[in-house]
């Protein structure tokens, strides 16, 4: 292939994408040199995935109007007819999707799909293809390639599937891999292992990487060059370390300050209680106490222990975090506290009173002081209701708050407390953004003036800048109202910002607990250390990891 020595591998010039009158990407330009890795960073709506799909010509023929030039290995891709482009797919340009769970055909085995991918490369002998595939599956750290080969996608975990996909993508040794949020659907510890694997394969096989991510910390850790996007335009481009150390654009600066992993103490001052309140808080009996709580479910004739002897207590006016990955039991613990489910054994006390053995009406009394904010604000608000009615529902249901006009005043006050203007009262959830919805959900939780608010991953469905706004709000409300929070999260970096004490859960057991600072500085348990190691560190790019850690049972 006649090509200049130092021409970039991929050169994107003035790329614009429009759907009818809405342009979602405007005049984007960047280039990737051979062996280089570049990260496109942006929040939802920034156009980062659209750019990736345009380069791969995977936007679908629908209504997207793509203009500009994309040069790859000296050839222009956008104007290239499909027939010429198809041979480049897979072989020169690889693609790793976001959600490994849906990226493989659910009704065919891994093996048959891998066979198909291998056959596209021209190998005609099925046995040769099979042995090649098995060796690649072994290369990506899958312990039992033959079992994986014979499995259907739903029989494997997300981490294993992403390894399969990475394996299939590197199989043809492409020059460039486009990875669209390759780890955001995975548990944090698996995220790190997957990214390490990708970095290692890249180095070994000399593959360039275009990484699409919303996570500035991951981008800075894993890429040589950063391109910061917002609303379809490039805000800033530069070497990762420079953009990171000294962001020039305002957007990059605010993005930086919103990333939990990079700003462990951001809300510390806002949350700090005055000394007298602090003393009061520790002197009073704990707001929440769990003692040896067990919860078992029976699914398909098998008894599964979701919680196994969980104990913790939370002092008034403080935040306690339950941290763990999916299946750790953290959400079950929160649901038990709210009385949505009954524990199989153990004791739960709220404000010193046991929760068990209460009748419905008594449970209602407890719930007045105990409110919940759900993870997903897109499902926790009734789409047919207006904000005023949503926020007022607890007052109406509990029959408190006085007459109609006084209730309306309380609803307005709650809305103001979460920083939303009064004009929102008449809106329906469909006309609110994710962050606004979550604020409405918080207002609904606050309107009864509860003592305790359970926050079930309240920001995990939100963009990082929106998350920062919500966390700031929660910190302020806690200080002003002396609220006690039980904060359920999978994200230790976030927990470090917002919590006072932590219980780390794994497979339904508390493996470690204590003050946040101690957990971070002197983690005792291996699992805690694995969680901490999964927090991206920017310095890591200076000392790249070289080994592919084998997948242990614990992380799958």
């Amino acid at each position: 292939m006649p090509e200049q020595k130092n021409a970039p591998l991929l050169d994107v010039e003035d790329l614009s994408v429009a759907y009818g009158p809405n342009d979602v990407v405007r005049d984007v330009r960047f280039s990737i040199a051979r062996g280089e890795s570049l990260a496109l960073i942006g929040e939802s709506g920034s156009g980062k995935s659209t750019i990736a799909k345009s380069i791969l010509k995977l936007l679908g023929t629908d209504d997207a109007e793509v203009t500009g030039n994309v040069w790859f290995e000296g050839r222009e891709l956008l104007g290239m007819p499909e027939r010429q482009f198809r041979p480049l797919r897979g072989r020169r340009l690889g693609y790793i999707p976001q959600d490994p769970g849906s990226a493989l055909n659910p009704v065919r085995t891994i093996g048959s799909q891998a066979q198909e991918a291998a056959a596209l490369l021209g190998e005609t002998n099925p046995d040769a293809r099979r042995s090649h595939i098995l060796s690649v599956l072994a290369d990506v750290g899958l312990a039992d390639p033959v079992r994986v080969y014979d499995s259907y996608p739903h029989q494997l975990s997300g981490g294993m599937l992403q390894r399969v996909l990475i394996g299939l993508t590197v199989l043809p040794r492409p020059a460039l891999i486009v990875a669209d949020e390759p780890t955001s659907a995975l548990d944090v510890t698996v995220q790190k292992l997957t990214l390490d694997l990708l970095a290692d394969l890249r180095q070994e096989l000399d593959i360039s990487l275009l990484l699409i991510t919303h996570d500035l910390a991951i981008a800075a850790e894993r890429a040589d060059t950063l391109v910061v996007l917002r609303d379809g335009t490039v805000q800033e481009t530069g070497a990762a370390r420079e953009v990171f150390k000294a962001p020039r654009s305002e957007y990059a600066r605010s993005l930086y300050s919103d990333v939990p992993a990079l700003n462990p103490d951001r809300y510390r001052s806002q949350r700090l209680l005055p000394d007298n309140r602090r003393r009061e808080s520790t002197a009073n009996p704990p707001r929440i106490e769990m003692q040896g709580v067990e919860k078992s479910f029976t699914t398909a004739g098998k008894r599964v222990l979701a919680l196994d002897g969980v104990s913790f207590s939370v002092s008034p006016g403080t935040t306690h975090a339950l941290v763990g990955e999916s299946g750790s039991g953290k959400t079950t613990a929160a649901r038990l506290l709210l009385g949505l489910e009954q524990p199989s054994a153990g004791e739960i006390r709220v404000n010193g009173d046991p929760l068990q053995g209460r009748r419905r009406s008594e449970l209602r009394d407890v719930r007045r002081h105990l409110q919940l904010v759900y993870q997903n604000p897109f499902t926790s608000l009734d789409p047919t209701w207006r904000v005023s009615r949503i926020v007022g529902e607890p007052l109406d249901r509990f029959g408190v708050g006085g007459n109609r006009s006084r209730r309306a005043a309380q609803v307005r006050e709650a809305l103001e407390a979460v920083g939303l203007p009064e004009s929102f009262l008449a809106r329906r959830p469909a006309h609110l953004s994710g962050g606004q919805r979550q604020r409405v959900a918080i207002a609904r939780a606050l309107v009864l003036h509860p003592d305790i608010v359970v926050l079930d991953e309240p920001t995990s469905a939100l963009d990082v800048s929106v998350q920062a706004g919500i966390l700031e709000l929660l910190a302020r409300l806690q200080r002003e109202r002396g609220l006690t929070y039980l904060f359920v999260s999978h994200d230790l970096a976030l927990v470090r910002q917002i919590a006072d004490t932590v219980s780390v859960l794994q497979h339904g057991k508390v493996v470690e607990d204590g003050p946040v600072q101690r957990i971070f500085e002197q983690p005792q348990h291996a699992y805690t250390r694995a969680l901490l190691a999964a927090i991206p560190r920017v310095t890591a790019s200076e000392t790249p990891t070289t080994t592919i850690p084998a997948l242990s049972e614990a992380t799958l």
Partner: protein, 283 residues
């Protein structure tokens, strides 16, 4: 006027259906117009024709469509257009009765099933299975033969055979919405089961059920027309659309006797189906 309305939906159905402009697509506007005309024909048939639907002039037997007789005349010299107009009430309103029966009974069963759960669900579920197991049209035929050959009985029969679909949809909707976080949130805020049912579940379930009801309205017009075609509705001189087609088919030399009422059926059902599809799409 009727003939222009009659032809246009055919031509435009394809082009307009996929357009996602703001406001109501033209084919939907046209469909609503068709339905409006049908409603007016049902309520005030005398306003739309000066001819009697039952008395004919023997002089003008089996005349082809003309400016005087838009749909021609039948073997007794009766104006077919006015017979169609006067047949609208029983053809269309009986379909409405059928939908109401299916909607009310089916939704109640589905609601009880989805909300009651346990043995209630098991018992009602079997009942719905049984209704589904008997082919709908056959069930309608058996019911109408048992109740007697009248249009209202055909409507009841059609309604009963539609109960199962409504029950299934309502049950599925209740189960879907019941599991939603906002319903659980309502319990946490001290809401009762009844409150959740009335204020959260029903308002959210009503739209898909409404879409089905409109769709089922079109289907019911067809089923009732088919029953009338077989002679299971009101006997002549009633002029249910299906009956008109059936009696017209004995005169091969006067094809308008079949095509005119047939076209009215097709256009009406097409309009109703278009509205149903539109309702399914709009938020």
């Amino acid at each position: 006027m009727t003939s222009t309305l009659a032809i246009t939906p055919f031509r435009r159905a394809g082009a307009g259906a996929r357009r996602t402009t703001v406001g109501i697509p033209p084919t939907v506007v046209l469909s609503f117009l068709v339905v409006l005309v049908m409603v007016l024909w049902s309520l005030l048939p005398g306003m739309f024709t000066s001819f009697s639907p039952v008395e004919g002039a023997t002089a003008g037997k089996l005349e082809a469509p003309s400016s005087a007789h838009w749909f021609g005349t039948d073997y007794l010299g009766r104006d077919l257009y006015s017979r169609v107009v006067f047949g609208t009430a029983s053809s269309v309103s009986s379909a409405l009765v059928a939908v109401l029966i299916g909607l009310v009974v089916g939704s109640a069963i589905g609601l009880a099933s989805g909300f009651g759960g346990g043995w209630v669900d098991a018992v009602l579920g079997r009942f719905v299975d049984v209704l589904l197991a008997i082919p709908g049209f056959l069930l309608a035929v058996v019911i109408v033969s048992s109740l007697g050959f009248q249009t209202i009985n055909a409507a009841i029969a059609t309604g009963v055979s539609a109960v199962a679909v409504f029950a299934r949809l309502m049950r599925a909707e209740v189960l879907r919405i019941r599991g939603a976080a906002f319903v659980e949130a309502s319990y946490l805020e001290g809401g009762t089961l009844l409150h959740a049912l009335l204020k959260h579940i029903l308002p959210n379930a009503y739209r898909p059920v409404l879409v089905l009801a409109v769709l089922q309205f079109g289907t019911s017009i067809l089923v009732i027309a088919s029953l009338a075609f077989l002679g299971y509705g009101d006997p002549p001189p009633a002029s249910d659309w299906g009956l008109l087609v059936a009696s017209g088919k004995t005169y091969p030399t006067a094809p308008w006797l079949v095509y005119a009422p047939a076209l009215v059926i097709v256009i009406t059902v097409l309009a109703v189906n278009r509205i149903s599809r539109w309702l399914r799409k709009v938020k």
